[in-house]
């Protein structure tokens, strides 16, 4: 998911509007409706044509009409009670199939995870969470696939289905009942896996360090602080090294202190008495599991002459996702925030940022690049004095900006009275070292009004996985209504694989992939040509290009029909310590899933109804 869509609200995504470059976007609601309507109309048309070919137009038309009426009846007289009874049966069947093996597999994976996971990593929480969430996703999706795609065909093959269809059960109830049953058992397993994962991650990253008296020394000097003003009773030193990191510690006269932040966490230290001896006790890691609730602003740049521009300078960074500003020029990066209120920030304005540095000359090698940050009222242009600090890369640096500020002339300012105008505020970053550059993108700076609950965020992350599971079960049930077991499984698996590569398929359909479509890339492989060189003109080149062009039509259709599983995954966001927004993200995911599940189950019902067994 790109930055743009991460910072979109549900409303912006759901309803028609304009995008950042001013173009019209139809919104998800309209887009889904159009596609569902197209598929429904096409299905009707195909049914009518098939019936006409078989039985003539009059009888064919009549059959389609009767089918629609009967289907409507099935929908209207749908009995939730019977569906739930069938769901219960499906769950029992799943248990008989020993689905619990999935949980056992997961436990085995976790037991040996430590062999492959790097506990000395500088961001272990992210690594561990990505691992458990990815493993869970794959396992649960495979479970959904096996359960849903095999069950119905096996019932039909064993003729056990007759014991159900001979009873007053409607096909809708059967389809929905099965789906609910599989979702139910999947949910229980997912909950178990989720709980185990949570315990695993917390326990695996739990550690402590040792500090002894000989590791500590009185603080004698500190940059910029005269020796006589330093609190001489404070001591500093280092902890021992555990899991590839150690901490700097500062301890007060009363024996209490804290460490610096390393590997995204810190510890508290207390002096305790054990067996008559006083020793320092380093507490558990703190602050490594976050659920930051960020408020993003819109980023724009000023070039070296002070002219507004959307992009910053390009310094040749391969990733090309950041714009750069030049030092000691009028170049600046400005984030515009909206809807800020005093209630959100009753004390300080909490800001987090990460800045990339690009040096065009060595400069002072042991010093960072000086950066200034100021707050500006977007209407009155009143601005706070520069806040100067050294740029730090690849970590989120925290800044607490007090409510009472001063402007450059020393006049005092109030953050919300003088700088925030009807909820709007501009934050401006400049580089102070000549011929050095600072790089940033929109999400590199955000305000943090509050910290959400991490366990809850973890659950929200699992909801994303759950939605993917529901989706794959719906597809599995649909394919299994008219295909036999192995083929249904293959079809569901293809849906899953296709769903993971929707972005790529879309790019293929639009002809945007470097190296061309399937035929062209095959030709390149066989003739050992790289993906950027032009193919020699000739008949074969024209033929492969034409083939790929024709293939773009079915690919376009597939790319619109396949669900994008990546859309539903918030793994990275959760692992990076950001809150998953209930409305903007989970509601969007839920709508997205529903938009697929409803028509897919309807199709399942139609296919099943058309089969002999259901009549």
């Amino acid at each position: 998911m790109d930055v743009e869509s991460k910072t979109q609200t549900f409303g912006e995504w759901f309803l028609p509007g304009t995008n950042s470059s001013g173009g019209m976007v139809p919104g998800a609601l309209l887009e889904f409706s159009i596609w569902i309507a197209i598929v429904a109309l096409l299905s009707l048309l195909i049914s009518f044509i098939v019936a006409t070919v078989k039985h003539g137009p009059a009888r064919g038309g009549d059959m389609v009409y009767k089918f629609i009426v009967s289907a409507l009846g099935d929908l209207i007289f749908f009995s939730p009670k019977r569906a739930l009874a069938l769901a219960w049966l499906a769950m029992q069947e799943a248990i008989r199939r020993k689905v619990v093996a999935v949980f056992v597999t997961f436990i085995i994976i976790l037991l040996f995870a430590a062999w492959f996971l790097d506990s000395t990593n500088r961001n272990p929480a992210k690594l561990y969470m990505e691992f458990v969430l990815t493993a869970t996703t794959y396992l649960v999706l495979l479970l959904g696939l096996f359960l849903s795609a095999v069950s119905l065909p096996q019932d039909i093959q064993n003729r056990t289905i007759y014991t159900i269809v001979t009873k007053p059960v409607r096909p809708t109830e059967l389809v929905i009942g099965r789906t609910l049953g599989f979702v139910g058992i999947g949910t229980v397993l997912l909950a178990l896996i989720g709980l185990t994962s949570y315990v695993f991650v917390i326990r695996a990253l739990d550690h402590t360090h040792e500090v002894t008296e000989k590791d500590l020394a009185p603080i004698k000097e500190k940059e910029g602080v005269p020796a006589e003003k330093l609190a001489t009773n404070k001591r500093h030193g280092q902890t021992n090294s555990v899991r590839g990191h150690h901490h700097e510690v500062v301890i007060d006269a009363d024996g209490r202190g804290k460490t610096d932040t390393q590997s995204n966490h810190w510890h508290e230290i207390n002096l305790v008495e054990r067996a008559g001896r006083q020793q320092y006790e380093v507490g558990p890691p703190l602050g490594q599991f976050n659920a930051r609730v960020p408020i993003y602003g819109r980023l724009r740049f000023k070039d070296r002459f002070g002219n507004e521009s959307i992009k910053g300078t390009n310094v040749g960074d391969e990733a090309q996702d950041r714009g750069y500003i030049e030092g000691r020029t009028l170049s600046a990066a400005i984030w515009s925030f909206k809807n800020l209120s005093e209630e959100q920030f009753p004390k300080d304005l909490h800001l987090e940022l990460s800045i990339m540095v690009f040096r065009t000359h060595k400069g002072q090698i042991d010093k960072g690049i000086a950066t200034s940050l100021l707050l500006r009222n977007p209407v009155t242009k009143v601005a706070s004095a520069d806040r100067i600090f050294l740029a730090k890369e690849f970590t989120l640096e925290k800044h607490a900006i007090p409510r009472k500020l001063r402007d450059a002339s020393g006049k005092s300012l109030d953050l919300f009275k003088d700088l925030v105008h009807e909820g709007a505020l501009d934050i401006e970053i400049r580089c102070l070292d000549a011929a050095q550059f600072l790089g940033m993108k929109q999400t590199d700076l955000f305000l943090q009004a509050r910290e959400a609950s991490f366990p809850l965020n973890f659950v929200k992350g699992y909801v994303g996985i759950w939605l993917q599971m529901v989706l794959i079960i719906a597809f599995g049930v649909m394919w299994s209504t008219f295909l036999n077991g192995a083929v249904a499984m293959l079809a569901t698996f293809s849906t899953l694989v296709g769903g993971f590569f929707v972005q790529h398929i879309t790019e293929l359909a639009q002809g945007k992939v470097l190296g061309g479509g399937t035929a062209e890339s095959t030709m390149r492989m066989l003739t050992q040509q790289n993906i950027t060189s032009d193919l020699p003109p000739g008949l074969s080149t024209t033929a492969v290009k034409l083939f790929d062009m024709v293939m773009q039509i079915p690919l376009t259709l597939i790319s619109h029909l396949l669900p994008d599983f990546g859309q539903l995954s918030d793994v990275e966001q959760l692992a990076r310590g950001f809150d998953i927004n209930l409305l903007d993200q989970l509601a969007r995911h839920s709508f997205y899933t529903l938009a697929y599940v409803a028509p897919v189950l309807f199709a399942a019902f139609v296919f099943f109804k058309l089969r002999e067994v259901a009549r």
Partner: protein
């Protein structure tokens, strides 16, 4: 009839047992005795593993993680490796360092016996990933992380000389010659980075005093380790140039001595370091290096080879006194008039044509050993042939050794070590260091000038004792920089360079007017 299936089963079982026998012989593992001695070399597979330096040849050294990952990839190890390489690149482009580290770990498990993988990715981390960070502490961390990756590689491929050499390179040259070397060398003395990054038993975690915890000395120690492996089994040298390979530990000692002075450490410690470098460089000359035909030659014998050749030549001439002169007279008679005139003319006054003719004449007048042998009486020819061959052999050895000497700049380092350990050089270095300190830190122009001038006087003494250094470009460039700093001081005092400057010969020899500019001295490191 009923017995038939039973008999068939028995036959199958017997066949299986027969097939298992060679398999068991093939795959027998190496066993180790309590003392660490190899008990049995194991089966063919085990021996092959040993031959190709796959360290899992011994039971009990199997890395379960690497084996599991290989098993789990179900023979698709190549594909898995390819995907992981792509992922490494993707994470590198996206600056996702935590995932890059994690992927490298997996890659190493998948391709743990490919030396190239360890080398490439370690280099990638030490050189490419480290520079992505702006804070030099982070850069240092990633430089060492590359070394840690290499060391992990040696756990999977023990005695892999290439990997051990690369570790030494990172410890020595990467840290010691970086732009940030002053900061890096300081950080190298702190244990924390090593405790964080290296596993128990690491070369970097050995007990060392603070003075011993110098990047050059640690680099030297690791080079010596790889040298020992090659000394035990010369085949492990692989494609390394033996001369360059064996010179590395001594060059580390030389760099250590030079770095000490850069850090502001002079007098006894520096003198001992230079003295040691000198001794080791002399000892290096005693090492036997393979020549063109596989013969073992020593740099120290360079002069001896020349003398031996001369002795053989003299002996050949002495076999038939007057023969050489006769041949020469004949050759002289055979010259054309123009050639003779050109040869007789004064060398300085020759025209181009005369120079060419004189050159031709000299070439024609050269009496070769073969010519002498051909004209020897029959009874002396066998002896003559023998002497001519001996002369040829020593000439070839002499030439090869000269090539060796030139290729590693042997003479320069020899003179440098000797010169730098003299009291005058140590004093000169100290004075120049103090001059820079006075100029940069205290802005004390008078002291700076005074110290520079005293320092140059000491340098003069050194150059007079070792005149070879005057023409040497490395020494020249080094002194030229010091002179530029001195000029800078004078400029600020609004004074011109003194006439008859004491090191004018260095300026004349080494100053490149096209590149000439004056810049301030780099901020020297405080001790």
């Amino acid at each position: 009839m009923r017995q038939r299936p039973f008999i068939r089963k028995v036959i199958y079982l017997l066949l299986m047992a027969v097939l298992l026998a060679p398999l068991s012989l093939l795959s027998q593992p190496t066993t180790q005795r309590a003392g660490g001695d190899v008990g049995s070399p194991g089966g063919k597979l085990s021996q092959l593993r040993d031959q190709y330096e796959l360290s899992q040849a011994n039971l009990g050294e199997i890395d379960p993680a690497a084996e599991t990952i290989r098993l789990a990839s179900l023979g698709m190890r190549g594909v898995a490796g390819m995907i992981l390489w792509q992922k490494v690149h993707k994470y590198q482009v996206a600056s996702d360092w935590s995932n890059l580290d994690a992927t490298l770990k997996q890659l190493a498990l998948v391709q743990s016996n490919y030396i190239g993988v360890w080398q490439f990715q370690a280099w990638n981390v030490s050189f490419n990933v480290s520079v992505e960070w702006d804070d030099y502490h982070d850069r240092f961390y990633y430089v060492l992380k590359g070394a840690a990756f290499l060391e992990e590689g040696t756990r999977h491929n023990d005695k892999a000389v290439r990997l051990i050499n690369d570790i030494a390179w990172v410890a020595g040259n990467k840290i010691g010659t970086a732009d940030e070397r002053v900061q890096y060398r300081k950080l190298f003395k702190e244990r924390w980075y090593f405790d964080d990054l290296f596993k128990k038993g690491s070369r970097f975690l050995r007990d060392r005093t603070l003075d011993e915890r110098d990047n050059w000395l640690v680099g030297k120690e690791i080079y010596l380790e790889s040298q020992q492996i090659v000394d035990d089994d010369p085949l492990r040298l692989g494609k390394f140039n033996p001369l360059v390979f064996h010179a590395k530990p001594v060059l580390c000692q030389i760099n250590f001595a030079a770095a000490l002075e850069e850090d502001g450490v002079f007098e006894e410690r520096a003198r001992i370091a230079w003295q040691k470098a000198d001794n080791e460089w002399s000892a290096f000359a005693l090492r036997q290096n393979p020549g063109v035909a596989g013969e073992l030659l020593r740099i120290a014998d360079f002069e001896l080879y020349a003398k031996s050749k001369q002795a053989a030549d003299d002996a050949l001439v002495a076999l038939e006194p007057g023969l050489r002169e006769t041949i020469l007279a004949e050759k002289l008679a055979g010259l054309s008039t123009k050639e003779r005139q050109a040869r007789d003319s004064a060398a300085a006054a020759r025209t181009d044509e005369e120079k060419r003719l004189a050159g031709n004449a000299e070439e024609k007048l050269r009496v070769t050993n073969d010519e002498i042998v051909a004209r020897l009486p029959a009874d002396k020819r066998a002896k003559g042939t023998e002497l001519a061959q001996e002369s040829k052999k020593f000439e070839s050895w002499h030439n090869t050794t000269r090539g060796d000497i030139d290729s590693i700049n042997y003479n320069y380092w020899k003179v440098r070590c000797k010169a730098e350990s003299t009291p005058a050089a140590l004093e000169a270095r100290r004075l120049i260091y103090e001059a820079n300190e006075a100029f940069v830190n205290d802005a004390d122009l008078v002291t700076a000038r005074q110290k520079f001038e005293q320092g140059f006087k000491e340098w003069r003494k050194v150059l007079n004792e070792f005149p070879d250094l005057i023409t040497d470009s490395i020494t020249g460039a080094n002194m030229e920089t010091q002179i530029q700093h001195y000029e800078n001081v004078l400029k600020q005092m609004e004074e011109a360079m003194p006439k008859n400057f004491i090191l004018q010969d260095i300026i004349d020899k080494h100053r490149d007017p096209s590149k000439y500019f004056i810049e301030g001295p780099e901020k020297p490191n405080r001790k």
